[in-house]
């Protein structure tokens, strides 16, 4: 399985170089803006999202057919891909954190824990997003899954915006229980968030394995 992860990282070599260049570029942008930490978690997201390209690379090379003739089973192949995804997210988070520190040192700002918590939120969000999209990618390939991706994220977003607008327009009051629940969730986010991420990750992984086991290659 280590071999599969090595394969993924070698395939990303070129993109990873690009990320270092983007980081340097970003550093100079950041020190010239009012809100230098605003985009730090964006780096994590950008790096993590390359996981999807890995599926495209494997498809292009028809790698999976070959990999399954090796001493690997289908579960191992999915495991390796999820591990690569987590490794990419972690490296993205680490890169963002380092950049945050460098920027604050350079600007002689005081570092607050909030910057790092934000990186944590960004990483959690991208893991959840990738966990929802990966089973679709395995089922229908990268190209078609892209449409699902759009539908999954843009459509609910638009519905929420619409509801929000309607609520504002008609001056409806948000019921207290929703407010209370939201307040409670926000207070305990440090525990709810990791648990949610873990749960989503596990569910996504088992769905992916069962889809992949049924697939004819």
């Amino acid at each position: 399985m280590k071999g599969l992860i090595i394969k993924d990282f070698i395939n990303l070599k070129k993109s990873l170089k690009m990320f270092l260049i983007i980081s340097v570029f970003y550093f100079f942008m950041a020190i010239n803006t009012d809100n230098p930490y605003f985009f730090t978690s964006m780096l994590t997201v950008l790096l993590a999202i390359t996981t999807v390209s890995l599926f495209a690379y494997d498809d292009m090379a028809k790698w999976d057919v070959f990999a399954l003739t090796m001493p690997l089973d289908r579960r191992k192949i999915i495991q390796a891909r999820y591990l690569t995804m987590l490794l990419l997210t972690l490296s993205g988070a680490a890169l963002s954190a380092v950049l945050t520190v460098i920027i604050s040192l350079y600007l002689k700002n005081d570092l607050s824990a909030e910057e790092f918590i934000n990186i944590g939120y960004g990483s959690s969000a991208i893991i959840v997003i990738l966990s929802t999209i990966i089973p679709f990618v395995i089922k229908m390939g990268v190209e078609r899954a892209r449409l699902i991706f759009v539908a999954l994220y843009i459509v609910p977003f638009m519905i929420i915006m619409l509801v929000k607008k309607m609520v504002e327009k008609q001056d409806l009051a948000i019921p207290d229980w929703i407010k209370n629940l939201a307040g409670y969730a926000m207070k305990n986010l440090y525990i709810i968030l990791p648990l949610t991420v873990l749960l989503v990750l596990l569910v996504s992984y088992s769905i992916s394995v069962s889809i992949y086991k049924k697939k004819d290659l």
Binding site: I6, I10, K13, M60, A61, W63, V65, L68, T69, D216
Partner: protein
């Protein structure tokens, strides 16, 4: 149909019984054949006859509708990893990412195959004159094939499963590759299943030949037996009607007369004393069966 009742024994590196796989427009229909250990089995048939589907079923890459396959004595659906590690596979294409190099491939395989033999792999790269640092994108088709074969041979494989390893290659490269296979088979424990539509390659190296046509096995036989069992009859068109249809594998007619491919040659000659049969070749037998009239 010959060989429907093969007994599965451990003497066979691969044993397929009653394998069926249905697609919308194609069916692999109840096929059975064995690949005896220590031999080269040529698996022939035109494009689309079912060769790749069969190979994918052997490798458990597709789900089958019926039938059983054993590979090196194990159910193909439940091959232990250490047994899989002893199987070298070459598929139609290199199946390795374009932006990797031969050296990257070595690093990856070293971390996948517990029995990876790095020095052996380097030896093959040298022998095939494959550059270590060039990306596979820059490789010719022949070079890609040679890389795949180097991988297949570098983890102490006992069984090679090769899907069209010589197609699209020039005769010199094909010959070089076939020589490697003949070297591999010197060890009695080693076995090769080689699919190809290039019959001359099969004629050159195979001990056994399995012929698949439209999803069915037409014959699975030792090559020498096969050439001995068939014979070509030249006769007048009217004479064809006098021959028992059971002996006819295929008929080709021209303005000069008819050519009939006769099976069960000995029996035929005992029954029809007046006819002389000519020797034939693997290629002719297959052409008569797949293209001739019956």
């Amino acid at each position: 149909m010959l060989n429907k009742d093969y007994k599965t024994t451990v003497k066979d590196a691969i044993a397929i019984r009653n394998l069926t796989k249905r697609y919308k427009d194609f069916t692999l229909d109840n096929i059975s054949f064995n690949v005896p250990k220590g031999t080269i089995m040529g698996f022939v048939g035109e494009n689309g006859a079912g060769k790749t589907t069969t190979i994918k079923a052997i490798l458990n890459l597709i789900h089958t509708d019926a039938g059983e396959i054993t590979v090196l004595g194990y159910d193909s659906k439940r091959l232990p990893p250490e047994v899989k590690a002893k199987i070298g596979v070459v598929l139609d294409g290199s199946n390795i990412h374009d932006n990797l190099t031969a050296r990257d491939t070595n690093l990856i395989m070293k971390n996948i195959y517990p029995n990876w033999d790095e020095s052996c792999f380097m030896k093959y790269l040298n022998r095939f004159k494959l550059p270590e640092k060039k990306t596979i994108k820059e490789f010719s088709r022949g070079m890609k094939m040679k890389l795949s074969i180097s991988i297949a041979l570098s983890h102490n494989s006992q069984l090679l499963i090769l899907d069209e390893p010589t197609s699209g290659l020039d005769p010199m490269v094909r010959d070089e590759i076939l020589d490697i296979f003949l070297e591999f088979i010197q060890n009695e424990e080693h076995t090769i299943l080689l699919s190809s539509h290039i019959i001359s390659d099969i004629e050159k190296i195979a001990d056994y030949v399995t012929f698949i046509h439209e999803g069915r096995i037409v014959f699975s036989e030792s090559k020498d037996n096969l050439i001995y069992q068939y014979g070509l009859l030249h006769c007048r068109k009217e004479e064809v009607n006098d021959i028992d249809k059971a002996y006819i594998a295929g008929i080709r007619e021209s303005s000069f007369g008819a050519e009939v491919m006769i099976r069960n040659r000995d029996e035929f000659q005992r029954k029809y004393k007046g006819y002389n049969l000519d020797k034939t070749s693997l290629e002719e037998i297959m052409l008569f069966i797949s293209r001739g009239r019956r």
